[in-house]
């Protein structure tokens, strides 16, 4: 099963649509609630990253018999130093985003903590592709 969500730049009201949609599907597929919780955290953080940092993108979830794989592709601006971006507390978020309680530098670490596999590829000026998977 494939679920696709468009994510618009700066649209914080829509952050949570993909995670809540995926959560509903996984509940109906009777996936273990603890596993659903991990997936929801990772997907939500990925959504917020696209809203807060990119010019927009898509989130695609592929659900097979024993695994969910999520591909988050945005169209820029890209991450120049991925190692730095993965550090807890590092953030390039704007002041407005921080005032909302986002941008604490915990997003990517939260994704890593809750997934079995995570890869990030990024080209500055072009875009970032995040792929993570979790056994279900």
């Amino acid at each position: 099963m494939k679920l696709v969500f468009e994510i618009a730049r700066g649209d914080f009201t829509a952050a949570g649509k993909a995670s809540s949609g995926i959560k509903k599907v996984l509940k109906q597929l009777l996936v273990d609630p603890k596993t659903i919780k991990r997936i929801v955290v990772a997907v939500y953080e990925a959504e917020v990253n696209v809203v807060a940092h990119s010019v927009g993108g898509t989130l695609t979830a592929n659900i097979s018999g024993n695994e969910i794989t999520v591909v988050v592709q945005d169209y820029g601006p890209g991450i120049s130093d991925i190692e730095q971006a993965m550090k807890v507390g590092f953030s390039t978020a704007s002041r407005k985003v921080r005032e909302m309680g986002f941008g604490a530098g915990m997003g990517l670490p939260n994704i890593k903590k809750n997934t079995d596999e995570l890869t990030i590829q990024s080209q500055p000026g072009k875009g970032t592709m995040l792929v993570f998977s979790i056994s279900i």
Partner: protein, 120 residues
């Protein structure tokens, strides 16, 4: 840090509304929700990463992403401190999800002290 409490002692949201003299802004249908503990933070990723199902969340954030997180994490209720009021779409989302948004005029330190005593 989360406070975890035993299942047999679980209190309802309506009980802490009474004990702590809280305002109920929205989501009254959720006043019967059971409380498993509490989490205090204004950083959304911190709550996303560390709060647990059934917890009451104490914060000064009033925008609707608070409800998105409360819903995804299946929290019991939200308490806004220092007379902060929920934004209009936060209220709407609270009714949609049946998760109460509560309020107090007390600052975080004081309301959390009372909440700790009520739940421990």
């Amino acid at each position: 840090m989360p406070i975890a409490i035993g299942k047999e002692d679980e209190m309802k949201v309506s009980e802490i509304v009474g004990k702590l003299n809280l305002k109920v802004f929205s989501g009254e249908v959720g006043l019967d929700r059971k409380i498993s503990g509490a989490y205090v933070s204004d950083l959304l990723s911190d709550v996303m990463g560390n709060a647990e199902e059934g917890m009451v969340w104490v914060t000064l954030q009033t925008h609707q992403n608070v409800l998105a997180i409360a819903s995804l994490k299946e929290l019991a209720a939200i308490i806004l401190v220092k007379n902060f009021e929920p934004e209009a779409d936060t209220v709407l989302h609270s009714y949609e999800e049946g998760i109460p948004v509560l309020g107090t005029d007390l600052p975080t330190f004081e309301i959390v002290g009372k909440l700790y005593n009520a739940l421990k």
